[in-house]
Symmetry: C2
Subunit: 233 residues, 2 copies
DNA sequence: TTATTTCAAATCATATACGATTTATAAAAA
DNA sequence: TTTTTATAAATCGTATATGATTTGAAATAA
């Protein structure tokens, strides 16, 4: 591309102010600086970001669509309270969607990408050894993204992606991965890899992947149960 | 509630201008006045609605989250083109979600609401007799809403609802219901009612409801196939 | 005291005004 | 002719200013 006056001017790698505001607010929610229940005051934040209120408003609208913020007219935007029930509900939906998506994807999965899955799973083992749960979570997401990548249903993958984004908040807060579960999870991934290689039936794959993901919910509930029992003895 | 000065003043049943703009735009998309590909010009619409541009902008953001509009910076908002592939993709996802939701719901479904389902199904028969496909579609949605109402997973029902909303556009355009399919659909609803009454197994219910909904996709594809064959002969 | 009303401060919602970007068109150069 | 550059019109993006609504605290009445 030839650079004329206009194309030079625009290359200051600008993003719009509302995108900027969006990123700032989102990162602050994710890293806990804006904890659940925190009230975001538009004017105040606009001053801090050296913008007017409008870009901040629009950013907040987008975050509302992501489910990170709850907005009430004339009252303000508060960070959606962390809700254990909703967290488990979301995980269940994800299990159903990914189970279905992976089963479709398996029918078109190219043989030469199978070893990528093995590699990712190896990285998960390393992460677990290093107790690097953030890395573990990232690889886990990467693993599943690849398994359902060939499901050939764009709307489905978008739905899954936005569901993951909702969970991100909890994931980064660290409440997600339990060491005991992590080990089993890696083993189950190996089974999934074998199923993809072996071209197993649609129903079999869907059921296994769904169960694999629901096991995380189960683990969470059991761990919580133990914790509560301990508190009473 | 006691009425003081403020509460009197606010009772002019006002909705915010952006909500107003949202409703106007949405209805125009649904009734076809803004066809797929139509470019919505903010300033122009703002003048027509006697507001400033900002409420219109925000309404457009919301519609983008609904998937009705596609927005490109500095370029404008265009009504998302009707895309047959995406329509079928969305229906498939809905089949999976509703199958799962209904199976859970069945476990807690109260016996005294079963006959409501029968009533709705009767209304569908009438609608079909009158060739009132809009009514038919509405009842169909009502029927399924009730079947999965007791699934006890708020995130799941929200996801289903927003998926329905995406389909609304096509539904109201009338491309959805084929008479031949409609009749079978009613019969399948009767089977579903029996299953809810008979407390059948989770797997059985999930599979049946999913298939029921996927049959609509199938019918669409077959009808399309026929149509195309006719064009070549 | 307790409930109600009034009032002011904080904050959101919108209008107006202006600058920024894209897009299409016309002019100029190769 | 074809490609590139300049220009103008349309439209979007944001700042500033002002009106509208809520909220909470103080004042008043029961």
């Amino acid at each position: 591309m030839i650079l004329n006056y206009h194309s030079i001017m625009k290359n200051n790698s600008k993003i719009s102010k509302q995108q900027y505001a969006y990123k700032v607010i989102k990162s602050r929610i994710l890293d806990g600086r804006y904890p659940p229940g925190y009230k975001i005051v538009i004017d105040q934040l606009a001053r801090e970001l050296r913008t007017s209120a409008i870009p901040v408003r629009e950013a907040i609208r987008n975050l509302e669509a992501d489910g990170l913020i709850h907005f009430k007219p004339y009252s303000g935007a508060i960070v959606t309270p962390f809700n254990e029930k909703e967290y488990l509900e979301t995980l269940s939906v994800l299990a159903v969607l990914e189970g279905f998506a992976t089963a479709i994807s398996a029918q078109h999965f190219p043989a030469d990408r199978i070893n990528e899955l093995t590699e990712i799973n190896e990285r998960m083992k390393e992460a677990l050894n290093d107790f690097d749960f953030l890395m573990f979570g990232n690889c886990n997401r990467e693993f599943h993204s690849l398994t359902y990548q060939y499901c050939n249903n764009h709307f489905l993958t978008e739905n899954i992606k936005s569901t993951w984004n909702r969970l991100d908040r909890v994931r980064k807060m660290g409440a997600a991965t339990k060491p005991a579960r992590a080990k089993k999870s890696i083993e189950e991934h190996e089974v999934i890899i074998d199923m993809l290689r072996g071209a197993r039936s649609f129903e079999e794959i869907e059921a296994y992947v769904r169960t694999h993901k629901l096991n995380t919910v189960q683990a969470f509930l059991e761990e919580k149960n133990d914790r509560e029992l301990r508190n009473y003895t």
